[in-house]
Amino acid sequence: MIAKLLVANRGEIAVRIIRAAHELGIKTVAVYSEADRQALSVRYADQAVCIGPAPAAESYLFYQNILSAALSSNCDAIHPGYGFLAENPLFAEACRALNIKFVGPHPLAIRKMGDKASAKKVMQHAGVPIVPGSDGIIHTLAEAQTIAETVGYPVVFKASAGGGGKGMRIVNDQRELDGAFAFAANEAQQAFGDSSLYVEKFIADPKHIEIQLLGDKHGHVVHLFERDCSIQRRYQKLLEEAPSPVLNDELRQKMGEAAIMAARAVKYDSVGTVEFIFDQKQRRFYFIEMNTRIQVEHPVTEQITQIDLIKNQILVAAGKKLTLTQDDIRRSGHAIECRINAEDHRNNFQPKTGTISQYIVPGGPGIRVDSGVYPGYTISPYYDSMLAKLIAWGNTRKDAIAGMRRALREFVIEGVTTTIPFHLSLLANEVFLRGTYTTNFIKEFFE
């Protein structure tokens, strides 16, 4: 078992991990940058070590100091949280070399899943559905046409070097193919200095649906159903819910089984998430990527399954066998999480800094708040702008929404602009209430 755990993170997730560890009877060491001296995690941990100045590259990402703090304080395990070093295979390998348990999957799983292209190959080989398209770069128009006819229109050209929509072009039928190919190649060349393109089926109304996994070092893997994370802005999730309002039990089971296949393909041995893009029209799902860490939105799953993911993550890292079987995992009711960020949603979600003058958290039935802030806490410009995660549980989706609205109105955060008003308007939106919202929702309704 683990005796002393170093928490290599900050903010609410550091607090969350310390809470789980203390409940398991594990001693904790918090690490902090000079900007986080007043952090709640520093107060809650049994011991705290300053690991560097405010910039993350010199503190939370600087793993020599983190590993050194773990060794010098006699920790036998490190929990990386999310972000920072959580999906860095070199860090996981360094922990292993120093005989410190890394609370996460084995390094090779991180490595295999870390590279999108190689992850897709692994998944294809394992029989997990991936978005149909070209196998790598296409060189000629004729090649693109053959693929488009095989997978069916619409298709999309994407820049191989790309991201952020540059070098991307949607093609609705064969007549548009020629122009789109030239346009996308030219744009890719200008943006990335590389004109190579690939082509795949275009999914018009996509949902982002992910499956939570839990595996151990003895070959057992279970899934804990899905989360619908389609409410996002520039790939940053703002609200998550479980179950997804658009899945039926048959699809849910298929997606769960596909996620387990994905996990088995890399001998997955921790908590993790397989993300799928879900085509609402065709009712089909395709693998996007696997996150080899605990995720921000994990409480949504915890609320509907009553399974503590962080405690289980620590226990399996210690080598414990999972006692849960797939049949033991039941879900009940509906949960929603709103990320309360220090951002001005009326001003392009611009991050805000400031000192919290008043802070009154909501409570009552079905409400959970995971946070790392308190009255007097100063939000610095160095890290992300999330202040708190507000989670509402209800017997039905309708109940959960009503609970969330009530809690959002109760939540008092003064001294800094927050996304509470944004969430209140989101929860009143008809498309949101119908549940059919896609990943384009924020762009369409709020920008």
Binding site: R37, G52, S59, S68, A69, S72
Partner: protein, 165 residues
């Protein structure tokens, strides 16, 4: 431990012999102040670097036996000395000597010059020598041998002296 040509023990013996309870000496930028309490401790323990309110410190309470020092900070503040503070540039385990059975690199009262090694911080099995970048006299060793030091923690307080003194 020496002050000028006197050994600390000699000074204490002199004080005892002449029933002196307080002694304050200055010489060539060196300063010493000895106060004997009723319990007659031979030397005062170095107090912890005081953490700011609400701040948690990693350092464990010091053992006076392992950390003798000539001066406690309070009298020094009265004297009005401004000390140069050597802070830990990295996280690790603090060692005063190059090997477990070797004598410490420096002691309180020692004259040090730019480039002298003050201690070792062990980080991930690497021994990092910490060197001084001023000339001066060691006034306080703030960390116990073998303990964990965090980034920015004060390790030594040094009274700066001009290069020709």
């Amino acid at each position: 431990m020496k002050f000028g040509k006197f050994d600390l023990d000699e000074l204490l013996a002199l004080m005892d012999r002449h029933h002196v309870s307080e002694l304050s000496l200055r010489r060539h930028g060196q300063a010493i102040e000895i106060k004997k309490s009723a319990s007659a401790a031979q030397h005062s323990a170095a107090p912890q670097p005081r953490p700011a309110a609400g701040e948690k410190s990693v350092a464990e309470p010091d053992d006076p036996e392992t950390q003798p020092t000539l001066l406690s900070p309070e009298p020094l503040e009265i004297i009005g000395e401004k000390f140069y503070q050597v802070q830990a540039p990295l996280v690790g385990t603090f060692y005063r000597a190059p090997a477990p059975d070797a004598s410490p690199f420096i002691e309180v009262g020692d004259q040090v010059k730019v480039g002298d090694t003050l201690c070792i911080i062990e980080a991930m099995k690497n021994m990092n020598e910490i060197q001084i970048d001023v000339n001066g006299i060691i006034r306080e060793i703030c960390v116990k041998n073998g303990s964990l030091v965090e980034f920015g923690q004060v390790l030594f307080k040094i009274e700066e002296t001009s290069p020709d003194s």
